[in-house]
């Protein structure tokens, strides 16, 4: 089965091509084509995953281009990590395709929407299958393009346009790092192949400083894609895209690509202590930083967006603490419960037509299905015992502790507390209490939207049991099987960590309940008590403003100077070149008189000039 893995990305590509060409005529039927084709992808991904359990890594590639002595290859690989990612991506994509059938119902450009979804899914699956860095980079950019198109899907909204542009540019900053890192790596190793890179690293062919430099540059790419501090600001803005898109791209798959990149190049990173430390610090900082912002946001999707940034920080922290299994495990569980939360949020938005949580409330009785599903997602992300998020978060905390990052460990614990708090704040404000907006027409979403949520809910509850300290660390053992560089399948940690994790999550929930559920603590004790802190949080640490004041202003000033040069110098040259070309063009067309004798004359003249020139320079008339 694994030798057929190349087929998996082709289905969504087919969907994209087909819908781009015929979408206009098909209209609403487009949805069925998209759903069907991604389902096919999912089925094959599942078969590939099952096949991977029983057999070793499969890799197929051929020479794509020969340039001088270097041969660039192209192909695909199925190892444990890809196989798992294939299933996650294709499953979430399939569910989102299905959900969008209901969510985007009646949108005039639904075929375009499905075409873009197909393009994105193709790119993401291609990214996952890539056996070398160059191919990864190509798909990495393609994924960014898909994300750009989908964020800007409502292109008539100014905010959507701005957000799409911002996302593109911010991630591009990271990509420059990745690109330079990639070129350096090629220069050092002479190949883009992962295998050869790792072999070169373990053979000590690259100096330690060089590894650190390369690893950090590649990590910058991951920082951009995964919305890590300080390149995180695009991700909350990206919520301007349709909600199913947020679920697919900005929660479950693309933003996890940064984590995936670090995971798939783990042996390289592991070879540099500095790089690992940087990743851990950035991850932990992002986790607590974004979680603290999430506490005061008033837009349902923005809360979830900051929560995504924060959870991605957790994954980075795990990877930086040598917790390969913990990072990948959390990536998986997070994909399920965060997609669930987004889809449920979409269902709420679909019902009440607003994203402002101040205008919601009391929706539990109206949305009898969405409510409980949202609760499941909230419980899972908060790390309540027995749900998937509990196990993966515990694994991260254990790795951090065992690796000796005591301070980062406590940061993560606080971040976990924040997570439980803001998620339940969100839940209580949306679903309990008095209705603060018009709720007369609120109706539960249709079946096509509910079924994907149900499936994700089951996974959000159960996906954690593939790797638990109680029933066996099946996932971890499998992921690290046959690869020493990835560390152990399971890290034993002190038992009290689990108790602490449970305690902080319950504490967070309790505080949220007291403030927003039972209201024994005044809602504004915090904002009234320490208004400065509240202001800082509500304004997201003024990062956007900081960028505006420094980078944007600086760049603008710099660009003014460049503009000046541009107008005088560059444009002058440009105009001259363009003038010459169009003058030549005019002259040439005038020569083309239609007179056949002219044509013959020109040919003769040409011959004569060549011969005379030859006679003069050829040494015969000297």
């Amino acid at each position: 089965m694994m030798e057929n893995a190349w087929i998996i990305p082709l289905f969504p590509l087919l969907s994209f091509l087909f819908l781009i060409v015929f979408g206009k005529r098909l209209r609403a039927v487009s949805a069925y084509i998209g759903i069907f084709l991604t389902f096919a992808s999912f089925i094959i991904s599942l078969l590939v995953l099952i096949a991977r359990f029983g057999s070793p890594t499969y890799k197929a590639e051929g020479i794509w281009l020969t340039i001088g002595d270097y041969q660039l290859t192209a192909g695909y690989e199925v190892n444990q990590l890809n196989a798992l990612m294939l299933v996650i991506v294709s499953l979430v994509s399939f569910l989102v395709h299905m959900y969008s059938k209901g969510y985007m119902h009646g949108d005039g450009r639904i075929s375009v929407f499905y075409a873009y979804l197909g393009l994105f899914t193709f790119a993401m699956l291609g990214l996952v299958l890539s056996p070398n860095l160059l191919q990864t980079y190509i798909f990495w950019e393609l994924v960014g393009l898909g994300s750009f198109l989908l964020i800007g899907f409502y292109f008539y909204k100014e905010e959507a346009k701005a957000a799409a542009k911002k996302a593109f540019i911010m991630t591009r900053i990271g990509d420059v790092g990745l690109f330079i890192g990639m070129i350096l790596l090629f220069w050092q190793v002479g190949s883009f192949e992962y295998d050869e890179i790792f072999a070169a690293v373990s053979a000590g062919m690259i100096s330690e400083q060089m590894i650190t430099l390369i690893a950090l540059l590649i990590f910058i790419g991951a920082v951009g894609k995964s919305g890590q501090f300080p390149l995180h600001t695009w991700l909350p803005d990206a919520m301007e895209g349709p909600t199913p898109v947020s679920a697919l791209i900005h929660a479950a798959t693309m933003v996890a690509a940064g984590v995936y990149l670090v995971a798939s190049m783990f042996p390289l990173f592991a070879a540099s202590e500095t790089a690992m430390m940087t990743i851990a610090i950035i991850g932990a900082f992002t986790a607590i930083f974004a979680a603290s912002i999430g506490i005061v946001q008033k837009d349902i999707k923005r809360v979830l967006a900051y929560s995504t940034v924060s959870q991605l920080g957790f994954m980075m922290l795990a990877l930086g603490s040598a917790g390969y299994v913990a990072g990948v495990f959390h990536l998986m569980t997070h994909a399920f419960f965060k997609a669930l939360l987004f889809l449920a949020a979409g269902s709420v938005i679909h019902a009440v037509h607003t994203q402002d949580i101040e205008k919601m409330g009391g929706l539990w009785k109206k949305l009898r299905v969405t409510g409980p599903l949202f609760l499941i997602g909230t419980l899972a992300i908060s790390g309540v015992p027995l749900l998937s998020g509990f196990f993966s978060k515990d694994e991260i905390l254990v790795s951090t502790w065992v690796h000796g990052h005591t301070f980062l460990f406590w940061l993560a614990v606080v971040a976990a507390f924040f997570t439980a708090f803001y998620m339940f704040r969100l839940f209580f404000m949306v679903f309990t209490g008095e209705a603060r907006g018009k709720t007369a027409n609120v109706k539960e979403s249709p079946g096509v939207m509910v079924i994907p949520m149900l499936i994700l809910a089951v996974l959000a509850i159960g996906a954690g049991y593939v790797n638990t300290p109680w029933f066996g660390t099946f996932l971890g053992d499998w992921l690290t099987e046959g690869n020493q560089a990835l560390g152990h399948g399971h890290v034993e940690g002190p038992a009290w960590i689990m108790v602490v994790a449970t305690a902080v999550s319950l504490l967070g929930i309790l505080l949220a309940w007291l403030m927003y559920g039972k209201k024994t603590i005044a809602r504004d004790w915090f904002s009234a008590g320490v208004p400065t802190v509240y202001g800082i949080l509500a304004n997201k640490y003024y990062i956007d403003e900081f960028y505006k004041m420094t980078i944007v202003k600086g760049t603008t000033a710099f660009s003014r100077i460049l503009h000046f040069i541009e107008v005088i110098v560059v444009e002058g040259i440009m105009k001259m070149v363009a003038g010459i070309i169009s003058g030549l063009s005019k002259l040439g067309s005038r020569f083309q008189s239609g007179q056949v004798q002219t044509y013959g004359t020109v040919a003769f003249l040409g011959l004569a000039i060549l011969v005379i020139f030859f006679a003069v320079t050829g040494g015969y008339l000297k």
Binding site: I20, V21, F22, K24, G62, I63, W64, L65, I67, G68, I581, S582, L584, S585, K586, G588, S589, F591, Q592, G594, V596, T598, Y599, G600, V602, A603, F604, L605, G606, L607, L610, V611, F613, F614, G618, G619, Y620
Partner: protein, 503 residues
């Protein structure tokens, strides 16, 4: 020559030529004796069958050892087989366009001729690819040229078509005269018309006067043949002829005829002038004259791309584009890298598909509008997304955007120009610069397709045959762009890098 020697020849190596000759004869007889009221289109299908049969026979000849018959005048080596494949595939696609070609004033009376003249032209090109002698080379060339002259004027009641045929035949006459004059020098000095014997004799020349005459012959032959590939300074006929000729003929001229032109240029340059020593005796005449070739290549690229900018007629624009592509190919010829034949073969193959695809689309669009203005492509995306997307892919390939066959072809030429010693930096930069200029007019068409309003919303009558041509061309362009090694592996396996070229 007695009957015994005649029968002892391996005539089987001429199978493709025999098939085409047979079908051409059969077609002309059928055309004579078939009742007038029977639609001659059936002859077109028959011609297509013949071309496909010949293609199959070329495949059966794959891998056979190089062989020559008729006192070395006809030889079948890997070079011949490889280029025959290109010619036949190109001709097959052109024939499919010709079958569905229907000009406004109808050509029912000459439709039969239309088809078998294509076959005659193709036969000439096939013979050229296998010639081991200047005489057969020239006869092939003339067979191709004479058929093309008539084809250009096949729309007898259409004034531009007549004009185009007239200009073509006059210019063709001049070019033939120049070429022959050059060949006569070569014959005069070497005393033979056989390329193999020349290759043996020429390196022994030491007389400087003779070498000088050979250099003059080089210029004359080169200029004469530049007519066939529409390169400077013999390019000026191309826009007028392309514009006036019926569309399938234009396609034939720009693909099959141009390929044949490069075949003869490579044959003559590699087997004659590459073997002539230059005056100092250190290198070959060909290499010492590289700079002149470079000038021709550069001028061709500049003229083609720059003048294309101002064209309003789509066929005229593609005439200049075809001049520009001849210029790119001449860069490869100038550089004379060790991979010259592979590079040329791949580029001509890529060019074949992208150009024929474009002409197929032009045939549909212009026939429906009865106008050849570029504006007819306005709003094509709304009227027919299939045509619009196909056209865009082909244009991207012509412009040499990565992911398409055109890019790989250009990359090979570019690398070839830089890989030789001395590297041709100026020529390579000129290749890039003129490619950038070409973006303007290629993308201009794409702007029309996607961003302009359509003047009518009428759908296009898309005949399945033309649809198949478009699909084949687009698919080949994309596949060769993403997996270029399919073609290169085929070349290496079947033709082992053309090592048997001159032996």
């Amino acid at each position: 020559m007695d009957l015994e020697t005649l029968l002892s020849y391996h005539w089987s190596i001429m199978t493709p030529e025999f098939i085409i000759l047979g079908f051409a004869t059969l077609l002309s007889l059928l055309d004579l004796f078939m009742p007038r009221k029977i639609n001659r289109r059936i002859l077109g299908w028959l011609a297509l069958t013949g071309i496909l049969a010949a293609t199959i026979s070329v495949f059966t000849l794959l891998g056979s050892a190089p062989e020559s018959i008729l006192y070395d005048t006809f030889r079948l080596d890997s070079f011949a087989i490889a280029f025959k494949l290109l010619l036949l595939i190109g001709a097959a696609l052109v024939m499919m366009l010709a079958v569905s070609y229907e000009p406004r004033e109808r050509i029912d009376e000459y439709r039969g001729e239309f088809y078998y003249l294509f076959l005659a032209g193709l036969l000439g090109a096939l013979i050229m690819s296998s010639s081991g002698d200047l005489i057969t080379l020239f006869i092939g060339l003339e067979l191709l040229s004479l058929s093309s002259y008539i084809l250009a004027g096949i729309r007898k009641k259409h004034l531009p078509s007549n004009e185009s045929a007239m200009k073509y035949v006059i210019n063709g006459g001049i070019s033939t005269a120049i070429t022959l004059f050059g060949m006569s020098y070569v014959y005069g000095i070497s005393g033979t018309t056989n390329l193999k014997e020349m290759a043996a004799f020429l390196p022994t020349i030491t007389n400087n006067q003779h070498l000088y005459l050979l250099a003059l012959a080089f210029f004359m032959i080169l200029i004469g043949l530049s007519f066939k590939i529409a390169a400077a300074p013999f390019h000026m006929w191309a826009p007028d002829v392309y514009e006036g000729a019926p569309l399938p003929v234009t396609a034939f001229l720009s693909v099959v005829s141009k390929t044949a032109g490069f075949i003869i240029i490579l044959r003559i340059l590699l087997s004659i002038f590459f073997n002539v020593p230059d005056q100092t005796g250190t290198t070959s005449l060909m290499l010492s004259l590289q700079d002149y070739l470079a000038v021709i290549a550069g001028a061709t690229m500049i003229i083609g791309n720059v003048i294309a900018l101002r064209q309003k007629n789509i066929k005229r624009m593609f005439a200049y584009s075809s001049i520009a592509h001849a210029g790119y190919l001449l860069v490869a010829v100038t550089a004379m890298s060790p991979f010259l034949v592979e590079t040329t073969w791949f580029y001509l193959g890529a060019y074949l598909f992208m150009t024929l695809g474009v002409f197929a689309i032009i045939q549909i669009v212009t026939a429906s509008a009865d106008s050849e203005s570029i504006n007819e492509f306005g709003g094509l995306y709304r009227r027919s997304p299939f045509l619009a997307v196909s056209m865009s892919i082909l244009l991207l390939s012509l412009a040499g955007i990565p992911g398409t066959a055109g890019f790989i072809g250009k990359l090979n030429i570019f690398m070839g120009a830089l890989a030789t010693d001395p590297a041709h930096y100026i020529l390579a930069s000129l290749l890039i610069a003129t490619t950038v200029i070409s973006y303007i007019y290629y993308f201009g068409v794409m702007v029309q397709i996607f961003f302009r309003q359509a003047e009518s919303t009428k759908k296009f009558p898309l005949s399945p045959v033309v649809g198949i041509v478009i699909i084949i061309c687009v698919a080949a362009t994309v596949i060769l762009g993403i997996f270029p090694n399919i073609a290169f592996d085929f070349l290496h396996e079947q033709f082992s890098s053309f090592k048997d070229f001159i032996q």
